[in-house]
Subunit: 416 residues, 2 copies
């Protein structure tokens, strides 16, 4: 059972928009045992779209198409699908009613003919009702191959994938069980890890695939397997994990459930033990707070943050001593530790993270080298900090700084 | 002059990693007049990679490949390229020296044979030196077609694209001039805008392409054209813009230079007029601060933020009155306006943004419906707020809330 994802839109090819849809679709298909063989992004061009359909049909069983279904003239996917299936467009009453309902509920502007025309669908299509937007999804079959066309707006596409597409794919095809287990590992580089587990890796059975997934400051190792005997797949992978873990005992932190982020793992752990956290952020500028609060249920453990970007706000709001800043510099262990202690008190939390550094590209209120970051962790009983050199690329310093801070906090939580 | 981008890695197809590399490469190629015809993402599988190379070679002039160049066993791109070119791998001394230098400078772990083997390159390849990492870029030519292989780590790939690939592509091919102008438009939906400018759009000359780019709460309209006569391309597009702007006079906000984000436009404007901003964020959780500080030079205008996620922090740190929270609810116009006024004073800025709302999925410290967000803008002379209903998807509420806040602030700045 193979699938291909085709994303349509000039904005993808000129890099104005990042294709996040494919990752979502790939992840969801994978969960029901469908492997994505290829992702193809192409322009809003009829000839090219037709060619891509033909190529995909020769490679895979299910083709998922997103984009090009809007009400405007540059959206040509629907017409092209109809042409590919030698079909004509007809008006679908239930879609038209959905458009009118949505319009009356949410939109202050006049309902136009171009909006109503989104109710036109190929006569051979099964309509997939889009309750979050005006462009319907469409399901078409030919020679046991399935074409699904979905709007490109992420939230609408996601709703249709979950509610309409996955159940139908599962019904139509006999899908194997796919298992991924991802191990989170701290403090080992890719090659050192590879050398450490080389013998184990060489002895892996061929049906179990291994992937190294390094990302700014964190390392993940993913084992994947699939088969029609679910319990066998699970036990075979578990057997390998049981022999792997002793090799990385010191550095193994835990499993990523469903690809959870490190901040989600922290959130789950804090909720479990009933503890709270706050942050005082200078060089990370709110990134740590934003990543905590992106997770639902964050209010159970995240109390808030002071983004003390300007030096005077470290003194006025956090209460860091001016003397410490003058003698040790604003980017120093002393200031980071003071920020963490103060914000812990200010928000009355069990843990606090503080960051101060220079993300570049030029030197700020401190003379330290660009990329220097001090991160401090405070608890009710103490505070400590580490110094990092994170390079001279601004977004790298910010993101790597946030990752390092989460890593330090997670270790601290597990210590307790 | 057409290009194809091939990204290699199972993690892309199972949705564990979002492909941001393609957007970067697409954007940079576009600037020098190279159109990306297709983006293809495939698995770490030799047969599939060879097929993708062959297909791409039949379609385009330049093929840019990223991923699969790491030191571990799951990375097979280099060997596959050598096979595709009937070539063998040889050790490159300058690459080996670069690896040793990087290792001694940044890495605490032992340098292993697998790391040194990253100095193996196809004998026919021109090495593109990667000063940010151990995997070198490779440039290979055959029958006037170019294959470029780059590491998948974004920062390394970006450095190689900018310093090594773009200059070589420009030297080798005669590239046309490509122009994109993107207009930022507030307060008009896609279909209403399309109806408003229909006659203008129908009269566009065929060489000028138009695209509607809606994104959470903002609308962008992009005109694109290309040709070998640069000044003609510029003047033809300008002529169209001059007739377009009167049609959207009220809603047209400005041009996006080089696809700048709205927060970058605000930052530029604040720097120009020498004014500052702070934020008090509840439901947006630091997202606004994080987006401001992602831009270099933010310290000139962004002073900081209080992320008052817990209700008590709105009282203790920001000084919102407990009475206002009790009588009007924590999610209310009064609380939003009070937060904005207080944070303006706390950070002593010219502008302040405040957000309070419920991003869901469940109700928090307030009884308001999930998706309700109040956003306030304060200046030295006053404060006002707006209420928004942003749906029931958490990340949508956060991101749309941030976009709406930036939109309100930009309007306020332009008023002054």
């Amino acid at each position: 059972m193979l699938a291909e994802i085709i994303t349509i839109g000039d904005e993808l090819l000129i890099g104005q928009v990042i294709d996040t849809n494919s990752a979502y679709i790939g992840k969801q298909l994978n969960k029901i045992g469908v492997s994505v063989y290829q992702i193809t992004s192409i322009q809003d061009d009829k000839t090219h779209i037709l060619q891509a359909f033909k190529d995909a049909e020769s490679r895979v069983d299910v083709i998922i198409i997103t984009g090009g279904l809007g009400p405007t003239k540059d959206d040509i996917t629907k017409k092209t699908i109809a042409e590919y299936f030698n079909d004509t467009l007809i008006r679908d009453d239930s879609v038209e009613k959905n458009i009118q309902d949505l319009w009356h509920k949410y939109v202050r502007q006049t309902l136009l003919q171009v909006n109503l025309d989104q109710a036109l669908v190929p006569s051979k299509a099964t309509v997939l009702m889009n309750t979050l937007g005006t462009a319907p999804g469409m399901w078409m079959e030919r020679n046991n191959k399935v074409f699904v066309s979905l709007p490109g707006v992420p939230f609408e596409m996601e709703g249709l994938i979950d509610r309409e597409v996955l159940p139908r794919v599962r019904d139509k095809f006999d899908c194997p069980y796919i298992l991924h287990r991802t191990l989170l590992i701290f403090g080992l580089g890719e090659s050192t890890l590879a050398a450490r587990i080389e013998d184990w890796e060489d002895a892996l059975p061929p049906e179990i695939k291994l992937a190294y997934l390094p990302s700014l400051g964190n390392m993940r190792l993913r084992l994947s397997s699939k088969g029609f005997d679910k319990s066998k797949v699970i036990s075979e992978v578990q057997k390998q994990i049981d022999t792997l873990i002793p090799l990385i005992k010191e550095e193994f932190v835990g499993f990523e459930e469903d690809d959870a982020s490190i901040e989600a793992i922290i959130g789950k752990q804090l909720t479990k033990i009933g503890k709270t956290v706050a942050t005082a952020e200078s060089c990370t500028g709110g990134k740590i707070a934003e990543r905590f609060t992106a997770n639902s249920g964050a209010s159970a453990y995240f109390k808030g943050s002071v983004v003390s970007y300007a030096t005077e706000s470290k003194i006025n709001i956090l209460g860091v001593s001016k003397e410490a800043i003058d003698t040790d510099s604003v980017v120093s262990a002393k200031v980071a530790e003071s920020m963490a202690k103060q914000v812990l008190e200010l928000f009355d939390t069990d843990f606090a993270i503080a960051t101060t550094g220079n993300a570049g590209p030029t030197k700020g209120d401190s003379d330290v080298e660009v990329g220097t970051v001090f991160i401090a962790i405070a608890t009710k009983t103490g505070v400590y900090s580490e110094k990092f050199m994170l390079g001279d690329l601004r977004l790298k310093v910010i993101n790597k700084g946030a990752n390092k801070a989460f890593e330090m906090l997670l270790k601290e939580i597990f210590k307790n």
